[in-house]
């Protein structure tokens, strides 16, 4: 059986990790390469880097980070944040990333999904979306609206409709990030995750809200997610990945054995 994936997310600004302080001796928590190596050795199944620099003059710094990470870890990792063109995608893939994650850029220009899938294959293209709860209505049958720019801009698009359109255009995976749950430690938005996961033919990644291992169990069972993003739950050392995996395994979830 295919294992449920645990994916730590690292926010990187100007080549430095912005979250993830105070948890480890012997690891420079600001250094994305050191952090990636740490999670690799802990048994992370994949890693996501989110470049919050996202201005063109600084793009080169992230490429250097990707290149350095690719020399050190031998699991898949993806890069998101500010990718707007096929050339942006090509640069991070050539530097060694396995996948690219596109978000606001895809809402503004959906054809980027198709162009990326044609150029690199669907398996390279993760369509990430930030969603916010709305009253269920004709406009929002899923009960969630897609928002962009960190939640500042509403799009008027229904989360499920956008998911289907994205898969139709060639997205190989979807990442559903709940703005309402992000940072709350209240657990993932299981309802919208499950709705989308059961409506599309590609893997779905739950994101936003993990505060304890139980939340991942819920994402993989009630939420029907194939993978889950983790951030503060692992960055602060409260729940190391091997412990989360032991918990999931004891509840019957197939996970990859966390052997370094």
């Amino acid at each position: 059986m295919i294992a449920k994936r645990i994916i730590p997310c690292l926010d990187v600004r100007a080549g430095k990790v912005t979250k993830g302080v105070q948890f480890l001796e012997n690891v420079d928590v600001g250094d994305p390469v050191a952090m990636a190596r740490y999670y690799y050795e802990q048994g992370a199944d994949e890693i996501v880097f989110y470049d919050i620099t996202a201005s063109n003059e600084r793009r080169g710094i992230m490429i250097e980070v990707v290149r350095a990470v690719a020399r050190e870890i031998f699991i898949p990792f993806s890069v998101g944040g500010g990718l707007r063109t096929v050339e942006d995608m090509r640069a991070v893939l050539l530097a060694g990333a396995e996948k690219v994650s596109i978000d606001s850029g895809a809402v503004r220009n959906p054809q980027i999904i198709a162009e990326g899938a044609r150029a690199f294959g669907s398996q390279c293209i993760v369509l990430s979306m930030q969603v916010r709860r709305r009253e269920r209505s004709e406009a929002f049958p899923s009960g969630c609206e897609v928002v962009i720019d960190g939640g500042r801009t509403a799009t008027g698009r229904d989360a499920l409709a956008w998911s289907r359109e994205g898969v139709g255009l060639g997205a190989g995976e979807l990442c559903i990030n709940s703005i309402d749950r992000d940072g709350t430690k209240l657990g993932y938005d299981l309802e919208v995750t499950r709705l989308i996961s059961e409506s599309v033919s590609v893997p779905v990644i739950a994101s936003g809200g993990a505060g304890e291992p139980k939340h991942l169990l819920e994402a993989f069972t009630a939420g029907a997610a194939d993978a889950a993003i983790v951030a503060s739950i692992v960055h602060y050392g409260e729940y190391p990945i091997p412990e989360i995996k032991r918990y999931l395994k004891s509840h019957g979830v197939e996970v990859r054995d966390a052997v370094p």
């Binding site: 059986m1 294992a3 396995e98 398996q123 590609v202 052997v259």
Partner: protein, 206 residues
């Protein structure tokens, strides 16, 4: 020197980085004479069967891989699309492939027992070893490896299968016949177990 076959697709550099990490010298090349001269050859990558075969033919490499690598007894490793094009035919783009290993390549079922199956398979799946082989030495049975595929190989002679995995169906995850080894999973993205298998290949006697 290990030649990594460049056929204008796939993520070739990740295999090169893994080999360098293991201390093996390698070169990414599309030149027949370099592939003929190499001690061993790796055909890696992500891609579609149609485009892969088109590029291999256009670069004059299909015949080199058949005659000067596979038939010549040179250790040869196919990874991901590199296992699929070893067979006679792929349903993907309805493609004639290299025909080094008799058999065909087919798509994962869209559903199993009425329940939909997500295709492509993306993620870590357990690999059961069905036959002892030096390339699997030191790799524990039932280890997870990283897969990204919509299609899987069906060798005509299942005696070539050395490991299987399950995704809707039980399929050949790794095969070996004489000097030809191939895996459906990405060795270069499968953590320590993948690196071990890759290292074992690099140490096989030619």
């Amino acid at each position: 020197m290990i030649a990594i076959v460049d056929y204008r697709a796939g993520n070739l550099t990740s295999v090169a980085r893994a080999l360098e990490h293991l201390g093996h010298r390698c070169e990414i090349t599309d030149r027949p004479e370099k592939i003929r001269a190499a001690e061993r050859v790796i055909l890696p990558g992500v891609g579609a069967a149609g485009a892969t075969m088109e590029n291999l033919r256009a670069l004059g490499l299909a015949e080199v891989l058949r005659s000067d690598v596979a038939r010549a007894g040179k250790p040869f490793l196919g990874i991901c699309i590199g296992i699929q094009v070893l067979l006679d035919r792929s349903e993907e783009d309805d493609t004639d492939c290299l025909g080094i290993i008799p058999g065909h390549v087919t798509r994962y079922p869209a559903s199993v027992d009425g329940r939909p199956l997500k295709v492509p398979q993306i993620g870590w799946n357990r690999v059961r070893q069905t036959r002892a082989h030096p390339v699997l030495a030191g790799v524990p049975d039932n280890t997870h490896f990283y897969f990204v595929n919509s299609y899987y190989p069906v060798p005509a002679d299942l005696a070539v299968t050395i490991a299987v995995s399950d995704y809707g169906v039980t399929f050949t995850a790794a095969l070996a016949r004489d000097n030809v080894i191939a895996t459906q999973f990405h060795l270069e993205k499968s953590g320590a177990a993948g690196l071990k298998l890759l290292d074992n290949f690099c140490r096989l006697k030619g």
